[in-house]
Symmetry: C2
Subunit: 234 residues, 2 copies
């Protein structure tokens, strides 16, 4: 358990947070096991801030994905968000930030399971939001929590449709990318479709698979890599 | 279907919105049945904004409840939010705001079910957020969407514990409220507990019920009404 002085030093040095409302950060790092109470006798621990932080984090990620994948459908955005803010991912990030080491917990040797790390991460986000508002919290979450732990390449690999990305890229650059997909009759039914992708009169990628869609995605992925296309926010 | 001119007049007159980013409001009111496409050939309709608006609305309500019920536990806040932003409630509000009448839908005589109203409400919130940011969207949502449709009395009736409210009120006003609860032996087991509440040496409420907790809540509710206590945000 840290003393109050050490706690605010750690907040500033490890987490780069300069608190205005100090009380709310103390609350964010107080576990129910400490059994702390408000003046009116109600439980005082990080659970209410965790509830708030969970909602704010969901909004921040929703906004980020909305802009980052301007053509993705609503269902895909929902799936992507679920991957990014999965319980295991939040636990991993909270652990990496060593939030547990500055938390007030009645017995640090107790096993609270891995969820304590993700819960502290959410309550920290809740405290930031109360202290600094939505926009500053978004910047902090993107810079400190998302970008270092969810790198561009990992999102890249979550691209929803390489074919769509490729066609859009071709239209934007006014150099169309052409897909030629054929059914290979009489061959192995497991690799029954082949796709070739043409760009500037050259075949830049080809692939085979069990469906038209799969063959096209497989070839498009190769082409996206070959053309070094990056689905950056604009 | 409204022409573009009428659409922005309606937006301003009916919904009191002055758009900066006009395009995003058009998107928020375009149904997939219109089959509109972006320049790159992707579907253009309100579904992406609905996804974003859903997240933002959840954050706004989470923040509101966090402040409005400063002593409620995380589980209760979650339940309260679910009640406020239930599908049927959103549909009811969207219908009341007549969002459907300014939406672009391929065939207004088609039955899209009641969910269209709630979906349009969420996509409107998404558009507001893109156009005006979190804080202005929050103010709009509270003033135009929450307060007129989720009146204080309705939240009041969702109070989690009248007993807790009453005790806290007594502590704040330094005039304690005392609960006297007894088991009524030998009587009807369905009304086996009785509770009397004393305030300034007078009995201000009494109630009977099948459990200690129910009798106390029943009496506390009467006392809260009698003392005209309102769980306002501070």
């Amino acid at each position: 358990m840290e003393t109050s002085g050490n706690f605010f030093v750690a907040l500033q040095q490890k987490l780069k947070i300069k608190p205005q409302n100090k009380r709310v950060y103390k609350e964010a790092f107080t576990h129910s096991s400490v059994n702390q109470k408000t003046a009116a006798g109600y439980p005082l621990n990080f659970e209410r801030l965790e509830y708030l932080g969970d909602a704010i984090l969901n909004s921040i990620i929703a906004e980020f994905l909305y802009h980052y994948f301007p053509n993705a459908k609503e269902g895909s955005l929902t799936k992507l968000r679920a991957k990014i803010v999965s319980r295991s991912k939040l636990n991993e990030i909270g652990k990496e930030l060593e939030l547990y080491s500055i938390a007030e917990i009645s017995n640090h040797h107790n096993a609270f399971g891995d969820n304590i790390h993700g819960n502290l991460l959410e309550s920290l986000i809740g405290a930031l939001f109360i202290d600094k508002g939505y926009d500053k919290t978004k910047r902090y979450v993107m810079d400190t929590i998302i970008m270092p732990f969810i790198p561009i390449e990992s999102l890249d690999s979550l691209i929803l449709s390489y074919k769509a990305l490729l066609i859009e890229w071709g239209q934007k650059n006014k150099t169309p990318v052409a897909f030629e997909t054929n059914q290979d009759k009489g061959l192995d039914p497991n690799v029954n479709y082949s796709c070739q992708i043409h760009y500037q009169k050259k075949c830049i990628a080809k692939a085979k698979s069990s469906s038209k869609k799969k063959a096209e995605e497989k070839a498009a992925k190769i082409a996206v890599r070959a053309l070094k296309i990056n689905p950056k926010v604009e």
